[in-house]
Amino acid sequence: MSAPVLIDYDTVVERYDPMLGLEVHVELSTLTKMFCGCPTEFGAEPNTQVCPTCLGLPGSLPVVNGEAVRSAILIGLALHCEIVPRCRFARKNYFYPDMPKNFQTSQYDEPIAINGYLDVTLDDGSTVRVEIERAHMEEDTGKSLHVGGATGRIHGADYSLLDYNRAGVPLIEIVTKMIPGTRERAPEVAKAYVSQLRDMLRGLGVSDVRMDQGSMRCDVNLSLSPRDSGVLGTRSETKNVNSLRSVERAVRFEMCRQAGVLEAGEKVVQETRHFEEASGTTRAGRRKETAEDYRYFPEPDLVPVEPSAEWVAQLRDSLPEMPGARRKRVQAEWSLSDEELRDLVNAGALDLVAATVAAGAPSGEARSWWVSYLSQQANNSGVALDELPITPEQLARVIELVAGGELSNNLARQAVDGVLAGEGSPDEVVAARGLKVVSDDSALITAVDEALAAQPDVAEKIRGGKVAAAGAIVGAVMKATRGQADAKRVRELILDRCK
């Protein structure tokens, strides 16, 4: 097959409207699988977390995990979906070795949640409402290792090895309606949607949503419509999109590739493609003779799920504040500009600042600490901000000590360093290191006089009116007092002594 012709991106958006659709599979973080009591924990020895049901042994039967249903409803509610009063599971029939029953128990024309939306904020602050078609429950497949081919790929492999530990793990599939009108921002919108969906799911606590670990997977559907024509194009589905960046790149590539096909007068083939991380391109999957007919029918081994209005209302009340709403609220509460809010979010500090404020600190101080000094420490140690060994409560205590005049800013940093080093709580560090602001003026005056005496020329300058020169004396006094003087007070005394 010849390499695809790619049309220049600007030309693509000039001539075509991209129609975007995103399907996201979320692996729930329940303790057990969707239809059996096997553990879902990652990393066990192969085929040690299986039972007759998830292995699909003859005679086995499924029983629905109530916690997974709860998670599904929470997800639906968070996406402003309607939770249906009655739904069923269905069998999706096809043969593949990673599916022990050669059918997947899923939901077909009766998903548990329908017709929702997610308001997605783009970098420039504008919002796009992405409409959600449905969210439904299904089970994951086993994992295959392909042996003998190049780079473990299926093509050219001699044989495969199957591990069914993952088979039966609960999945929620979230499908958007077609997203029109994104124009040249389609890649950005796709990425922002997946990113913010991820944040929302993380906030719900229903999944680890790690794209790199496969607990969140994204399929990108894209078609091109000639600009302003209203005629829909044929869409491709791209799988194996394993990061936010890949989502963006996959959309972009498909737009350019499909434009290339159309510009050459050919038709876009409806097919499944695979995203290739290394090159940022998509590759066609194996050509199938006919579209797959899954022969869906209602799962006879399971009975309908009918979430009561009471249960749904209870779950709705229990929803945590959604990230978007939360950001708006803290922005107002802490009087942040859009830029300041963005910095906070990008630093990964929002939750930490909020917790520090909840522990009693003023938002300005809390923000300043997390975004500057602590972010620096995190970078130096090569860890994420929330992995630093200091809690918001501890930081709030340090801020409190500064506010009460017991610590200077300099001493406060030393206290924080002590906590990070594992020396104990802020109070313990202060006591152990003897961190105390010298607030006794007579001691300070002595130190000031000594410093002035040691630098007579500087002292002369100060007396002559050059106030700025006091800095050198302040430095000397701070050194002499091992940083325990309040620099501000020292400066006052210097100027006073030099009158």
Partner: protein
């Protein structure tokens, strides 16, 4: 010692629990009988000699210790249809694709039997994956009807029924999807019960048609079936479709029924089940049965269930559809037969070659039929419509049960036909299920009891009794009353009339 094999399960249990006879003796007697006659009957695919004797010994030890029997049937031997998973015995479902397969787990029914101290003698022959009405579709050769070994014992559970009729076991477990317990019971002169759908756990029951399958008790008497019913029935959290209500008090109902008073009971005769296409002597025996029921005080009413005429068509759409999906798992990847056409065959090729070699004709036909019926474009016309017919049948039953407490019909249109007579004509074979299918479609309980022998061929005819969902008590009551009256009038149980078609003294 062969006297032990003539006893009913209730009688045998009594002797074992009173320690007049040991469970080991009882088990050995049946094992000896199997050795003696099974080469001709071929009811068993596997005889678990050592495990059975060990289980029997355990029962004896417990009784010797002064313990109460684990259940009213502790120590009594039983034959288990080879469609139920047993971790210590092969489970083949009568198919080559599972030849020698040992499940790593037990079906709930098997576990309950063991816990009750019932001794599992072995696994019985069946039509492959429970699809058939004659046991001729077993990959391991047919079972022979003890009444006439040139004839079929019914199907799909011919092995279980034959083992009872040949006195190889006093109890058996079958499964019934369209009549696979009841029709064999009818043609072998034994008792077979299909409980309310959901009344007995399906966990470990290799699925044929998930929405129709039920395991049930088989025995030579109504009381024995009732005792067994109470051991295996009841809710199972491992089966989402199992009902969470107490097992109906069927033993009590059977005992009361045996007193023979059916006054106040209305018995509905289903107009659509009978008439043209039914062997005349089956009809005649059925009419005699109706007279007998009336003589016990019951009031006969004629009811019409017009949609029963469509039951067979709907069944042969629903069943293959579910089968095509349930049997997809047999693909040579994880268990069972693997056929590899060549050294570099792909997984897909191995799957297709294995299924071709491992499945018999009837299974293949139904898989293809089901694949067709579920295909997009055909779903609405076939599977979709069939599910609607199901609703109509359920409504017919509801209406009929408004006029009668139980419904009756012949269990099967004919007596046992000869081996080979219908095996090449699928549609002719399907007609054997005419009377039994409606109850599976509606999920309501039904059973067959021996009604009499056809005059010309001397072969057994069964009376089918059907009740509303969870109405097993009234069903067993009527069955027990009929059985007692029939036995009294005819000088003993029907099974005693079994001439030695085996050529081996009973």
């Amino acid at each position: 010692m062969s006297e032990l094999t003539r006893l009913t399960a209730a009688e045998l249990a009594e002797k074992i629990h009173s320690r007049e006879v040991s469970a080991v003796e009882a088990t050995q007697a049946h094992l000896d009988r199997i050795t003696e006659v099974d080469p001709v009957v071929h009811a068993f695919l596997h005889v678990a000699t050592q495990p059975a004797l060990a289980a029997a010994a355990e029962v004896d030890a417990a009784l010797a210790n002064g313990n109460e029997p684990a259940s009213p049937l502790a120590g009594v031997p039983l034959a288990l249809k080879d469609v139920l998973a047993t971790s210590d015995m092969p489970t083949t479902c009568g198919s080559k694709i599972l030849e020698g397969w040992r499940p790593p787990y037990d079906a709930t029914v098997a576990a309950r039997l063991r816990k009750a101290g019932v001794v599992i003698l072995g696994k019985t022959n069946m039509d492959e994956f429970a699809m058939g009405s004659s046991t001729e579709h077993s990959a391991y050769g047919p079972t022979h009807n003890p009444w006439d070994t040139t004839r079929i014992p019914g199907g799909s559970g011919g092995g279980s029924a034959a083992s009872l009729a040949a006195f190889e076991a006093p109890l058996a477990i079958g499964t019934d999807t369209g009549g696979s317990i009841r029709q064999p019971a009818a043609v072998t002169g034994t008792v077979g019960v299909k409980p309310t759908y959901g009344g007995v756990s399906r966990y470990g029951l290799v699925a044929c048609a998930s929405s129709l399958d039920q395991a049930g008790p088989c025995a030579r008497t109504v009381l024995d079936a009732a005792l067994l019913h109470e051991v295996i029935g009841g809710h199972d959290p491992l089966d989402s479709t199992s009902i969470d209500t107490p097992v109906p008090a069927v033993v009590d109902a059977a005992r009361r029924g045996a007193e023979g008073d059916l006054r106040g009971l209305r018995i509905g005769v289903v107009r659509e089940l009978g008439g043209e296409g039914y062997q005349p002597e089956v009809e005649a025996t059925f009419r005699s049965a109706l007279s007998r029921l009336e003589s016990l005080g019951a009031e006969l009413v004629t009811v019409s269930c017009p949609h029963f005429d469509y039951a067979l068509a709907a069944y042969y759409l629903i069943l293959p559809s579910e089968v095509s999906s349930n049997l997809a798992r047999f693909d040579a990847m994880r268990y069972g037969l693997r056929v590899q056409p060549s050294v570099d065959s792909s997984a897909e090729e191995v799957m297709a070659a294995t299924r071709e070699a491992g499945f018999g004709d009837e299974v293949k036909r139904r898989i293809m039929l089901g694949t067709y019926a579920l295909s997009s474009g055909y779903y609405d016309a076939y599977y979709g419509k069939a599910q609607k017919v199901r609703t109509l049948i359920t409504r017919d039953f509801a209406a009929a049960f408004g006029q009668a407490d139980v419904l009756v019909s012949p269990t099967a249109p004919t007596t046992a036909f000869r081996i080979g007579e219908k095996v090449d004509n699928p549609l002719a074979m399907y007609l054997n299920d005419l009377c039994t299918i409606p109850a599976n479609m509606a999920g309501t309980p039904a059973m067959s009891v021996p009604a009499g022998l056809a005059e010309s061929d001397g072969l057994p005819v069964g009376l089918q009794i059907m009740a509303p969902a969870l109405g097993e008590a009234v069903m067993y009551r009527v069955a027990a009353a009929f059985e007692a009256a029939r036995n009294a009038a005819e000088g003993g149980p029907l099974i005693q009339r079994l001439e030695n078609g085996l050529g081996v003294p009973v």
